[in-house]
């Protein structure tokens, strides 16, 4: 438990970086945007992080009030880590980073790891630009299925598997299309028009996307 290193600058950006500027911290937040996660799952979806660094960051984030550690009720009484409200407020930071980093994605490198839910932030942006307000959207990729809560003010931003309940829209696309959306090369409307994204559902969002 080191006396955490600080920039010691009376500047709000520097203060933010004091808390989330360490290596891996913002990527752990990215993972926790999917809701409560176990240590092992975090470790699996953060390839490259060492076990001690992950444990250390989680403790730091707990102390900083960004995350909490909670024991699930039995059976399966494992510990899960969950974002606090303050932690969830980092969503705009991750959105800004994700938007800025989109042009850097390029082609997938052989050394790159991929997870389906890493496309959640880019797709949130695509959906927002397509005019989606508050909506529950189901996404089906080859790598897996997940759902997005566009415009949700609290709770998980996305989650694994199909939507819990009636989705406002359901998107099916191939890997290349999803990557092109993530890189910002095409808009969601364009991809739908080109038949690269299949939209189903009865909600207003689904209708709007289909008629784009």
């Amino acid at each position: 438990m080191s006396p955490r290193r600080s920039y010691d600058q009376y500047c709000s950006a520097a203060r933010a970086l004091d808390l989330v500027g360490d290596r891996w911290t913002l990527l752990i937040v990215r993972e926790l945007l999917a809701g409560p996660r176990r240590y092992t799952d975090l470790h699996a979806d953060l390839p490259g992080v060492s076990t001690d660094v992950l444990a250390s960051r989680l403790k730091d984030m707990e102390q900083a009030g960004l995350a909490t550690r909670r024991r699930l009720s039995p059976p399966g009484a494992a510990f899960v880590y969950e974002l606090t409200g303050r932690g969830r407020e980092l969503l705009p930071v991750l959105q800004a980073l994700s938007a800025w980093g989109a042009p850097e994605l390029g082609e997938r490198r052989p050394t790159d790891a991929v997870r389906a839910h890493w496309f959640a932030l880019p797709l949130l942006r695509s959906l927002r630009e397509a005019g989606a307000g508050e909506a529950l959207v189901e996404v089906r990729l080859e790598e897996g299925e997940f759902h997005l809560r566009v415009g949700a003010q609290q709770g998980p931003v996305h989650g694994e598997g199909p939507a819990p309940g009636e989705a406002d829209a359901r998107l099916v696309m191939d890997a290349g299309t999803c990557e092109a959306l993530a890189r910002g090369e095409v808009s969601l409307a364009d991809a739908v028009r080109a038949g690269r994204v299949t939209v189903t559902g009865e909600g207003t969002l689904a209708k709007a996307l289909q008629e784009a």
Copy 2:
């Protein structure tokens, strides 16, 4: 020249952090938002950074296309570092970090360094929330004077000294008021109403702020 360490994840946020996630990098960007700066000036306004790390980061940023190194025309033919367009696009990232970090500011700690222009990002936010569109604003603090280009699409976001040309508004306030604005405790409109900020100028922005 190390083969820069990467997260090796096909995720736009991770790619962004590959480029700007290293210690000091985003604070260097914050400094360069003030326009071209010399190495020595950067070093003076980034207390705590070691000389080799600053030089190394500047090289990395040059290689990444975030900044350029340019020789000023004589006399005073020094080198200056300047953000590229791509580098300036990091403004939303810094704005998001600054907004998130505002509640963490608290009271000034004895170990905290301060520079007048570190209040530029918080004040930009205050001005945006007060309804300012594109405007040139002059700010006078006890620690120094600087000017802001609210809503500017290119060029420096702020600069030292009085505004070059006719300012749309001029704000004078004391240190405590500026810090309260930065912490997000009060809105600019409230501060003006309370007489803690003096607004002068003839432009529509000045009128709007005075009548708030």
